[in-house]
């Protein structure tokens, strides 16, 4: 039985607690927040035994095997080191740390102590993404991927989050090196990082402030990003982040020599892009096949709902469960350290370029 604890009892903590409660062979033993009332409300609502406002007391009393760190990312590095020092495995809310240097250091400490860490890239473990990996293993692409496209949109429709960030010049999101982008894009970048084969791909990034934000006289937050990730020895990739595309899209396309795959994370559909027909048949047949694929996706989702297997945050449950299994049975981690580090490196490079471009524009 794993003993689980949570540090950071804000908005995202609820989502971790809900998934942890579904997993057998673990007990959520205590929660901690620098604001005791926040820790207390979480403990009360989910009937958790202990709550604290002191990390050291929390670790000493609860002695957790795994700690979920769900504080703002600015605290992840320091809290991570404290938890590793107390021999705890850690699941970090994304982004794991502020930059790849901190990520590397945390991983090195964990390795030295024989502990494990992971990051909440839950979108990597949706049913459609898991199915995609099965297909790729079966050789559907006809070789290694040629090109990847990841598009991740964010909608300002959530007034709580949006108002909090836009209204508060001291909001923690504004304090991140990549600001709003850093808090969100790791979901979309990690999908690319999984298939990039080089450790230092080249990045060409272009970011700008949407007209929506400009209308609010917001000049600090870049909320539109287009990036090309490339290297001669690796698949190339495009990454798009947008707050303005409606309805919001979370899609990933992986192109191969023979066939390609389209994953729609929001709709939980997986479409195989296959076959080439002669002459006019190419205008008649593929759309029928696509229609059939969409129908099958829909039926499968309904079946999974009826069987109580389809949850809105099922990726997170799968990830947490796989992480716990990896600790208990010493099996490979659900997300490799290579993928975690590469995701962080790509993000560092993007933010560095945006900063450079921004300074350039200001100088002009």
């Amino acid at each position: 039985m794993l003993r689980i604890g949570i540090i950071g009892c804000g908005r995202i903590a609820d989502q971790h607690v809900v998934e942890i409660k579904k997993i057998p062979d673990c007990e959520l033993i205590g929660v901690c927040d620098k604001e005791l009332l926040m820790a207390k409300q979480l403990a009360e609502r989910f009937k958790i035994k202990y709550f604290f406002d002191d990390v050291y007391k929390f670790l000493e009393t609860c002695n957790p095997n795994v700690v979920h760190i769900t504080t703002p990312p600015q605290n992840h590095f320091q809290l991570g080191k404290i938890c590793l020092d107390a021999n705890c495995n850690i699941m970090f809310e994304k982004p794991l740390c502020l930059n790849s240097k901190e990520v590397n250091e945390i991983i090195n400490i964990a390795n030295k102590k024989g502990l494990k860490i992971t990051v909440d890239h839950n979108a990597q473990f949706s049913f459609a993404m898991r199915k995609m990996r099965e297909l790729i293993r079966s050789g559907i692409l006809g070789g290694p991927p040629i090109h990847l496209e990841s598009i991740w949109c964010y909608s300002y429709n959530d007034p709580g989050y949006t108002k909090a960030i836009l209204g508060d010049k001291n909001h923690w999101v504004r304090g991140l090196p990549g600001k709003l982008l850093q808090n969100i894009i790791s979901h979309g970048i990690s999908k690319i990082a999984e298939f990039i084969t080089t450790d230092c791909p080249k990045i060409l990034a272009y970011g700008f402030i949407s007209n929506f934000l400009k209308n609010y006289k917001e000049n600090d937050i870049i909320d539109e990003l287009r990036a090309i990730i490339y290297d001669e020895k690796s698949p190339t990739a495009y990454f798009t982040f947008s707050t303005q595309i409606g309805p919001p899209i979370h899609q990933f396309r992986i192109y191969g020599y023979k066939n390609s795959i389209l994953i729609d994370d929001l709709h939980q559909t997986l479409i195989k892009i296959t076959g080439n027909y002669r002459s006019y048949l190419n205008h008649f047949i593929p759309s029928i096949i696509d229609a059939k694929q969409y129908l099958i996706n829909s039926i499968n989702n309904i079946k999974r709902f009826v069987k109580r297997e389809l949850y809105l945050e099922e990726g997170r449950k799968y990830l947490i469960e796989s992480f716990y299994k990896s600790i208990l049975e010493d099996t490979p981690l659900p997300i490799s350290y290579r993928e975690i580090i590469l995701t962080s490196k790509i993000m560092d490079a993007i933010f560095e370029q945006l900063k450079f471009n921004e300074n350039g524009m200001k100088n002009e």
Binding site: K22, M38, Q41, G160, K163, L166, G167
Partner: protein, 349 residues
Amino acid sequence: MSQNQYIITFEEPILITGANGFIGSKVVETLIKYGFKRLKCFVRPSGDIFLNKINQKLNGNNIEIIIGNLLNWSDCERASKDVSLIFHLAAGIEKTFAGCFMDSVIATRNVLEVLKNNKNLKRFIHISSIVVYSWEEIATRNVVDETMSLEREPELRFEPYTYGKVKQEELVMEYCNKFNIPYVILRPGEVYGPGKRKISGRVGINSFGFFIHLGGNNQLPLTYIDNCAEAIVQAGIKKGIDGECFNIVDDNLPTCKEFLKMYKEKVNKFYSLYLPYKFFYYFCCFWEYYSTWSKGQLQPVFNKRRCIANWKKIFFSNKKIKEKLGWSPIIPTYEALSYYFKYMKESGE
């Protein structure tokens, strides 16, 4: 009314938190009408149109707009320093429990912590809501009054706003009693008027793509914005009511059915399906059961407690606030409704 019936003079500083909100901006306007000269309006940096409204009403009055965040200690200290009255209207309205709790409870705790050392404070006026009551305790067709207890397990209603408001009120009582801070708690009903664009959930819901009318012949606990602001201001300044709680609802309340009929006649026609209370109650029970059985595949947004709190047949009384405070609605309900419907029609609802 002469100034000697008030607990403060017109020159003493008054803080209004949430001053850019629907109720807050009207409270500011009412205080100006009463003649209070030193108003400190605390607004979030994101305060938009209501802030403009306040600005329009300044008219040379000595009003200080304090832009800040009540989650920030220094902002709380800056705002609360030396004030004689506080109208605390700030509350969390977002969708998450943690967010509502933070904006309602933590923010209130910060204000109260600062107030512990404020020797000038004459009264802390906390604006709560009728949602805080434990509706299961009251029998059908009975009258709600201020003696009812607060919801004991508000999280089970699965309404983050309600959760935040219940915990906020508990905290206010605890702090004020512990540190001898004079207070009054006000629990308005459904506050409406120009500026509020939604039909009350007590009338019905739009969750499934069409309007489900659930209120039927239940009394709709309306409070017109001007009447509500008047009650709040009076509760802030009148002598002899410290430690009291008051519900605020107007006179001659319509039923939900009457309200919906008038709305359709005067604003716009739309399709609505009436579901009897019993039917919807069992639907909510089933939904709640399924939510538990499926381990949250559907969140328990429809549940027994929420159904009882919103759609059980209950009557509302303003007897206490009329008797103890001497308040009565300044705008009668039929007139208030006509202003509201006119606004809704003109704003294109």
